[in-house]
C-alpha cells in the first residue's frame, strides 16, 4: 500500500491514438453483441409474423363459401309425399343445373355440369323438403354450396393462365361457371357452415361443429377432474403436509410429470383407460381424463404459488380468534387465493385445448360426420381435426385447415385474455 500511496497518480493520456483505438474496439464489440441481440429478437418476431400472416391469408378464403342460387322443381314423381326422405334429390339437382344449360347434350358434359354444385346439395334440399312436405309439387329456390374446384375458381385461387392440363377445372368448365356468374346466381356469403357443420369428405361441406363440441366435452371432463384434485393436492402439500419422505416423493413426482412428453400420456391412456378399464375409444371422456393428468401439475403449481402469496397475518388472525386449521384454510386462505388459482387453471386448460398427440393415440382422429351428443360418443377435438384436415389431399382443405387453426387460436386468445383480466382485476398485492 505504501508503494501505491507514494507514487504519484499516473496521468492517462486520453488523446493517445492507441488507447482510442483500443476503446473503439471494445465499444464496437458491445455494439455487435447488441446488434446480434436485436437481430435474434427480430428473427423470432418475424417468424411469429410469418406464421400468423400465412395462416390468416390462407384461412381467409375459407371464411366465405361460394354458393349457387338454383331453382329446384320438386315434382311428385321424384319425391313421394309419404316418404319425402327417400326421394331422388340427386336427379332434381341435376335437372336444375341442366335447365340452365339447355344447349349441352353430350352425356359427359352433362355429368360435369351436374358436378358444379356440391355433392351435399341434394341433402340440403332433402332436409328442406322433409321439414316442409308441402313443398312437394312446387318450385323451390335455394342457395347451395358449389363443389371445391369451383369454389377455388370463384375465389380466384385457380390461376386461369396456367396450362389447362395443370388446372383442376378446364376451359369449358370455366366458361360454364362464368356464365353462371353473369346470370348473377353466384354469391359468396360468410361461411357459417365452418362452425355449424360437422366433418365431411367434401371440403365445401366440412365444418368444425363436431370438433368444437368434442373439445368442449373433453375440457369439461378435464376441468371437473383436475380442478378439485389439483387444489386439494396443492393445499395439502402447502398447508398441511409434514416434511417427510412421502411428501418429498409427491413433489418430485409432480415436477417430473410436468416434464413427461405428452405422447407418453397418450400411451398411458391407451394402455390403462382403454386397454385395462375398457373405456370407449375416441370418446371425449378418455380424452378429458388424459388431459386432466397433464393439466394437474400446472394447476398444482399455480395453486401453491397463490396459496403461498396469502400473507401469514391472515392465518394468524383467524387462528387467534379460535378457528381450526381447516377453517382457516377453507374459510380464508382458499377464497383469497382463488383469483390466482383460477388464472392458473385457465392457462392450464388453454394448454390442454391445444394438446394433440395424446388425443391421436386414443383415437380422437377418427372420421366422424356427427357432432357428439355426450362424453361417451366418438368425436374429434379441434387440434386433431386440424391434423386430419392437414392430412387431406383436397385443395380446399388447405384453407379449411388454416381457418380451423384461426378458430383454435381465437379460443386460445380468449382464454388467455380471460386469465389476464382475472389477474388484473382480482389480484391483490399485500
Amino acid at each position: 500500500m505504501t508503494d501505491l500511496a507514494s507514487s504519484a497518480p499516473q496521468r492517462i493520456d486520453w488523446s493517445d491514438a492507441e488507447l482510442r483505438k483500443r476503446l473503439a474496439r471494445r465499444h464496437s464489440g458491445d455494439k455487435w453483441l447488441k446488434f446480434a441481440g436485436i437481430a435474434a429478437l427480430a428473427i423470432s418476431f418475424s417468424m411469429l409474423g410469418i406464421l400468423v400472416l400465412s395462416l390468416v391469408s390462407n384461412g381467409f378464403a375459407a371464411f366465405t363459401q361460394t354458393h349457387l342460387k338454383l331453382e329446384f322443381e320438386i315434382s311428385a314423381d321424384r319425391v313421394s309425399a309419404e316418404d319425402p326422405a327417400a326421394g331422388n334429390y340427386r336427379a332434381i339437382v341435376r335437372d336444375a343445373m341442366l335447365g340452365l344449360f339447355p344447349e349441352v347434350t353430350s352425356r359427359a358434359d352433362q355429368r360435369e355440369i351436374a358436378n358444379i354444385p356440391s355433392n351435399g346439395a341434394q341433402y340440403i334440399l332433402r332436409d328442406r323438403v322433409v321439414a316442409d312436405p308441402a313443398l312437394i309439387g312446387t318450385r323451390v329456390t335455394l342457395s347451395v354450396p358449389v363443389s371445391d374446384p369451383y369454389d377455388q375458381l370463384a375465389k380466384g385461387l385457380v390461376d386461369r393462365k396456367t396450362p389447362e392440363a395443370n388446372r383442376r377445372v378446364n376451359d369449358q368448365e370455366i366458361a360454364w361457371f362464368d356464365r353462371l356468374e353473369e346470370k348473377g346466381l353466384v354469391s359468396k356469403p360468410l361461411n357459417t357452415g365452418l362452425i355449424t357443420n360437422a366433418d365431411s369428405r367434401f371440403p365445401e361441406l366440412a365444418g368444425l361443429r363436431g370438433a368444437i363440441l368434442g373439445s368442449f366435452y373433453a375440457l369439461l371432463v378435464c376441468f371437473l377432474i383436475s380442478f378439485p384434485v389439483g387444489i386439494a393436492a396443492a393445499i395439502y402439500l402447502e398447508e398441511f403436509a409434514p416434511k417427510n419422505k412421502l411428501t418429498d416423493t409427491v413433489e418430485i413426482n409432480i415436477n417430473n410429470l410436468a416434464a413427461v412428453p405428452s405422447v407418453v400420456f397418450g400411451l398411458l391412456a391407451l394402455a390403462v383407460f382403454i386397454g385395462w378399464f375398457g373405456l370407449p375409444r375416441s370418446a371425449p371422456l378418455v380424452g378429458g381424463m388424459t388431459l386432466a393428468l397433464m393439466t394437474l401439475p400446472t394447476i398444482i403449481i399455480a395453486t401453491r404459488a397463490a396459496v403461498k402469496a396469502v400473507p401469514p397475518s391472515i392465518r394468524e388472525a383467524a387462528l387467534g380468534i379460535g378457528a381450526s386449521k381447516h377453517q382457516v384454510v377453507f374459510g380464508h386462505v382458499l377464497p383469497l387465493a382463488m383469483p390466482g388459482i383460477l388464472t392458473g387453471t385457465i392457462i392450464g386448460l388453454a394448454q390442454a385445448l391445444g394438446e394433440t398427440a395424446p388425443l391421436l393415440l386414443i383415437g380422437m382422429n377418427a372420421f366422424i360426420t356427427q357432432a357428439p351428443g355426450g362424453i361417451l360418443d366418438s368425436s374429434t377435438a379441434l387440434p386433431t381435426q386440424i391434423f386430419i384436415w392437414a392430412d387431406s389431399p383436397e385443395r380446399g382443405f388447405v384453407s379449411r385447415t388454416s381457418a380451423a387453426i384461426c378458430v383454435l387460436l381465437v379460443f386460445l386468445i380468449l382464454m388467455n385474455a380471460l386469465a389476464v383480466v382475472l389477474r388484473k382485476r382480482f389480484e391483490r398485492r399485500w
Binding site: H27, G29, D30, W32, L33, K34, G37, I38, A39, A40, L41, S44, L48, L51, S54, L55, V229, A232, A233, A234, Y236, F240, T249, V250, N253, N256, L257, A259, V260, P261, S262, V263, V264, F265, L267, L268, A271, V272, W276, F277, L293, L296, I300, K325, H326, A350, G354, E355, T356, A357, L360, L361, G374, T384, F387, T401, S402, I405, L409, L412
Partner: protein, 459 residues
Amino acid sequence: MIGYLFLVLLLAAAVGYVMNRATARAAIAGGSARFHSLAGFHGAYALLLTGLPAVLFVLLWLLLQGSVIDSIVIGSLPETEMAGLDAGRLSLIEAEIKSIARGNIFGTPEPWKLEAAERYNSLRSIASVALWVATLAIAAVGLYVARSRISPEFRARHRVEAITTWLMIACSVLAIFVTFGIVASLIYESIRFFDKVPITEFLFGLNWEPQIALREDQVAGAGAFGWVPVFLGTIVITTVALVVAVPIGLLSAIYLNEFASSRIRSISKPILEVLAGVPTVVYGFFAILVVAPAIRSAGAALGIDVAPNTALAAGGVMGIMLIPFISSFTDDALSAVPRALRDGSLALGATRGETVRKILFPAAIPGIVGGVLLAVSRAIGETMIVVMAAGLIATLTVNPLDSVTTVTVQIVTLLIGDSEFDNPKTLAAFALGLMLFIVTLALNLIALRFVRKYRELYD
C-alpha cells in the same frame, strides 16, 4: 344415465346436509346441552357420509363393469365355436357381438352370436339397475348413520376435518399413481414386446421396418425392430432445433436483460411468450405449408437436392418453438447472478458487453446448460411437428437435408387407427415410449441437478 345418477347423489348429499344442519340447529337452540361442533359441521358430516362412499362405489363399478360383462359373455360362448381361436379372432367376435347388441346387424350372424348379444344386452340392463339400487342403498345407509349421530358429544368437526385431510392426501398421492401407471403400463407392454423381439435386437439393431405382413401370403418385410436409426433421426432433428433455438434464445435474452430499455422489454417478453403458447399442431402445419416448400425452393436455387420432408423443416420449426424456452431460462439465470458481480465489473471499467461475456455469462452457465438440457428433452418428446413434417421411413443418416423419422413419429404411426394389443407392431410403440420416457426423465433429472447446483453457488 350415469349423469342422472350423479345428479341424484348430489341432491341426496345436499338434502343430507340441510337436514342434519337443521336438526343440529334446533337441538342447539333448544339449549339442553352445549354442542361440541357447530351445526354446519353436522351438516357437512352428513354430506360426506351420504355422497362420498356412493360416488367412490359408482366410479369403481364403472371401471370394472365393462370388463366383467365382457368376460361373462365370452365365457358363456359355446365351447365348440371357441376351440382353437387366438386372441385376435376372439376380440373380433367380441366386437361383432357388441355391434349386434347395439342393433347393427350385418348379414345373418350365427344364432349363438345373436344369443350372446341378447345376453350382453340383458346383462347390461341388469347391471344398470343393480348399480342404481346399490348406490342409493349406500347413500341411504350413509345418511341414516349421519342422522343418528347428532348429539352434543359427537365431534362432527373432527370427523369432517379428518375426512377432508384424507381426501387431500389421496389427491396428492394421485401424482405418484400417475407416474406409477406410466411406468407400469410401459414396462408391462414392453416386456410383452421383448417376448417376441429380443431386447438386444431392439437396442442394437440397425434396421427399423415395423410393417409386418397381416396375412401369410402378403408381400412385406419380415419386420425389423432396431431402434438405432429411429433414435439417430430424433437426434438429427433435435440438433437442428437446438442450432436454431440456442443462439437466438441466448442472444435475445442477453439483449433484453442487459441492453434493452424497460419499455422494449415489457413489450418483447409477452410476444416471445406467445411463441411458446402456439399449439404444436399449428407449428406442424406451418412447417408443411411454408417452411418445407421454402427450404426446398432455396435448395433448388442452390442446386442442392432436398427431400420433401427434410429434417431441416421439422427441426427448424421446432427450434422456433423452443426459442422462448431457452430465452426465459437464460433470462432467469442472468438475473440470478448477484448484483455485486455485475456492479463490480462495471466499476472496474468493463463495458456492458464485456461484463456479459466475461462475468455474467460464465456465472450463469450452469443455469443456461440446465435450460438447454430441458429444451433437448422437450425436443426429443415433441410429437406433432415431427409427425406432420418429418418422414416415416427410418434411414441411418445424419444428413439434415434427408428425410428422417423420430421416436415420437413412430409411436404415433404405429398406434394410429385400430390396433390390437398382441401385435409386435403395436407393442413396439410401447417399447419406444419406454425408451423415450427413460431418456427424457434422465435429461430432466440432470438438468434439475445443474440448476440446483448453480443456485447453491450464490446462496
